[in-house]
């Protein structure tokens, strides 16, 4: 006998005979617990499992069928695509925007920084973005560890703040704080289509705290990555107001949306 067979025997109202289960119990500590004290625990758990619930109302299936029938239109099509495809659809515009921004409006002082530093920065940003988008769009078991999401969110909000105080070129550091609003607008505008895609791909009907953390992290990091490639102003006040604030702004937007969804 194995664990499910022992469980099923209890459910059928018959505690298996000791000789029958002895070989299994010798190597299975959890099943041994079921048989302690006259198999009290096994019988009690079986009794709990056998509690009969009232049958679902007749219209229960019709309600679900009705909801499924309303699953039509572009959003229904988009959110039912396989997860890998949804992830690709979100990353593709980001890569296009990064590429276009980097080529068309490159940061003037980028070549003054050592290549390994630039490469490492891009990798850290991109891996964190990939992790946040991947977790958000995945159907994998979601561990009940909210700190995982909060950790990613803290990283996304913290890295741009640290960037404000990172070593920069002399010209960059001595630049005026002005232009923060323009940078904020640039970052927000370019990440807006990605936010719209995330919303379209989200399979939940109501925004969740998990989605808020992961989406905010991904969008905040994406906006800051775009600005890292675009803006050469290293003035700490400018970076804090124009760049780092984007993550906070996306968090506020999600908080409002979440609050509204709760009524």
């Amino acid at each position: 006998m194995d664990c499910p067979q022992i469980r099923d025997a209890f459910l059928n109202g018959v505690a298996p005979a000791e000789e029958q289960v002895k070989p299994h119990l010798a190597g299975c500590s959890q099943c041994r617990e079921l048989f302690e004290q006259g198999a009290e625990l096994g019988r009690n758990l079986a009794a709990q499992t056998r509690v009969v619930l009232p049958a679902a109302a007749d219209d229960f299936f019709a309600e679900i069928e009705g909801k499924l029938a309303r699953e039509t239109g572009p959003r229904a099509w988009l959110r039912s695509r396989p997860s890998l495809l949804r992830l690709s659809f979100v990353l593709l515009p980001l890569l296009l925007v990064l590429g276009a921004g980097g080529l068309l409006w490159p940061r003037a002082d980028l070549e003054q920084y050592p290549l390994p530093r630039v490469a490492a920065l891009l990798c850290v940003y991109f891996l964190a973005i990939l992790l946040a988008f991947g977790k958000e769009l995945s159907e994998a078991p979601r561990r009940d560890a909210f700190r995982d999401y909060l950790g990613l969110l803290a990283f996304a909000l913290g890295v741009p703040i640290l960037a404000a105080f990172a070593p920069a070129t002399e010209v960059s550091r001595q630049a005026a704080a002005g232009g923060a609003l323009a940078c904020f607008g640039y970052g927000a505008l370019l990440t807006l289509p990605i936010a719209a895609l995330l919303w379209a791909f989200d399979r939940d009907d109501r925004p969740s705290l998990r989605t808020a953390c992961l989406s905010t992290a991904a969008l905040g990091l994406s906006a800051n990555l775009l600005l890292e490639l675009h803006c050469g102003n290293g003035n700490a006040v400018h970076v804090l107001l124009g760049h780092a604030s984007l993550g906070v702004a996306w968090l506020a937007a999600w908080a409002v949306s979440w609050r509204l969804s709760r009524g």
């Binding site: 664990c3 758990l45 009794a47 679902a56 699953e71 979601r142 939940d204």
Partner: protein, 187 residues
């Protein structure tokens, strides 16, 4: 599931009939009311429909459905800030969902339900999926995103705690003969 993905609508009814009782049992125990449980069961099927193209042919459907259900249930508790662990503080442990026609359940069943409710979430989850969801331990491991050995350790710890709690709650034969309050009553 393959038939459903291919567009066979009656296949969905079959899935519904097969899995609804299991999902209801798994949900109702935590949610205290059948309406809330049914709402989550509906969401599970809706989510199953939306993620049907993620289902890999040849994979077992039961752990897949329970993964969706468990994700939704966790999100529900997070959203409503009604995790059962909070009930530990004020000792107001609500009764689990009642049987048909509001029938009284035996004291033993109540004690068992209460003991289950007081287990740490990670232990309770494994036991509930194994017993009430009818999943094997490898399937439970798939649902909670852990290893089989870790799941078995959690089940073992949960069983030990349950036995200890049931032992504590059992009325003392001597004191009950003398009309003294039981251990449970004195707590």
């Amino acid at each position: 599931m393959a038939a459903y993905i291919a567009g066979d609508k009656p296949a969905f009814r079959e899935l519904f009939q097969r899995y609804t009782p299991l999902l209801q049992r798994a949900m109702a125990r935590d949610l205290k009311s059948l309406e809330e449980a049914n709402d989550l069961v509906q969401q599970t099927f809706l989510h199953l429909h939306r993620s049907r193209l993620d289902f890999e042919p040849g994979r077992k459907l039961k752990p897949w459905i329970f993964t969706i259900a468990l994700n939704l249930k966790r999100e529900y508790f997070r959203r409503n800030k009604r995790r059962r662990e909070t009930s530990l503080e004020d000792d107001r442990v609500a009764e689990p969902f009642e049987g048909p026609r509001g029938q009284e359940r035996s004291d033993a069943a109540r004690e068992m339900a209460r003991a289950l409710e007081l287990l740490p979430a990670e232990h309770r989850e494994v036991i509930e999926l194994h017993w009430f969801g009818g999943l094997s331990f490898p399937e439970v491991a798939e649902v909670v995103g852990s290893t089989v050995s870790a799941v078995k350790v959690r089940a073992h710890r949960g069983y030990v705690a349950l036995r200890a709690r049931l032992g504590d709650a059992a009325p003392d034969p001597e004191s009950s003969h003398e009309g003294k309050p039981s251990v449970e009553g004195s707590k």
